[in-house]
Symmetry: C6
Subunit: 75 residues, 6 copies
Amino acid sequence: MFPTKKVQSLVGSKIQVEMKGSPRYVLEGILNSVDEYLNLHLLETVELIGGEKTRSLGSVILRGNNIILISPVVE
Amino acid sequence: MFPTKKVQSLVGSKIQVEMKGSPRYVLEGILNSVDEYLNLHLLETVELIGGEKTRSLGSVILRGNNIILISPVVE
Amino acid sequence: MFPTKKVQSLVGSKIQVEMKGSPRYVLEGILNSVDEYLNLHLLETVELIGGEKTRSLGSVILRGNNIILISPVVE
Amino acid sequence: MFPTKKVQSLVGSKIQVEMKGSPRYVLEGILNSVDEYLNLHLLETVELIGGEKTRSLGSVILRGNNIILISPVVE
Amino acid sequence: MFPTKKVQSLVGSKIQVEMKGSPRYVLEGILNSVDEYLNLHLLETVELIGGEKTRSLGSVILRGNNIILISPVVE
Amino acid sequence: MFPTKKVQSLVGSKIQVEMKGSPRYVLEGILNSVDEYLNLHLLETVELIGGEKTRSLGSVILRGNNIILISPVVE
């Protein structure tokens, strides 16, 4: 399965997204939609710094080119 | 709704935009227009550092590829 | 007005451009031309660090993808 | 062999991927798929910092434009 | 004159190019060629750090997307 | 000669490539192939930090957009 198809298969489930920036910046939320550039729309998003939930962000759009890594959250 | 469509649906309302850079750099303003690259035109823009309003910038254009995250401001 | 159209409407007037990089790096000049990538050609450009004019650069070309923010200078 | 073809030839084998970011950030896993942008889908991924395995990440998608370097792991 | 045309008009003359990176990194050389992405081929290139020539690099190719600013050198 | 053509003319010879990142990160190897994005496939690659060879990496693929500078190695 191609990388973008793999991400599309995760719509409706919880994912973690690591964004560019220093210090390391991780968002966790329900993947609502994704396009060919890996722009993401997440729901019920929380920010994680050092593994701790630091903020609730709700609905957010993430710019694909600033994403380092996407991984499914196994619950 | 695709990520860019979600952003288009926010035209006319207040959004927060987190930009690339260190330290973390957040802008808040009324979304006036957006294109397919997520370039944004904001009005009544203020700069936020550490949650505090640090500057009034008025009308600004933001380059899409340097946007980390866009979120609606619930008032 | 779309973001790039908004920038085109500023040709001939003074703008401030914030570039990527650390520390924060701002250029101010007369916008001579702009293309679809937001590459800019500025005239009479000065560099601002911490709000102070630190260098006169004259005619400069800025690469669009490294622009964070463009704003008109109200005089 | 063109660079992207070279990466395609590594599907099914173990690779190391160095990502943008500070400090240096290396992932090692089985390459499951790759597209023309060098977006990668890795399986059995582990994170390496300073040569030490610091986290098991399992299935991850990496955004191509944030990849610095890809190299095959010789075992 | 559009930004890329302006750069093309500088072929054969000496330019300064400021690249992404920290600390600030400037190259000075004779512009031999440029393409639509602002990839540049410079000859007789020298590296400048803090205004001092620190290295002679000769013939170099610069990747357009990592260029911050291009300016002609007036001699 | 256009910048990408210049790089293609270096296939088969030794080059130095400076990558994005902090601290400065240089790779030296035999250029095996290059594409229109300046993605590179290098052979017999060694990593240089501060001018010292710090690691042998063998066959590596470099993502074009993270390349700062390419220069031929004169031997």
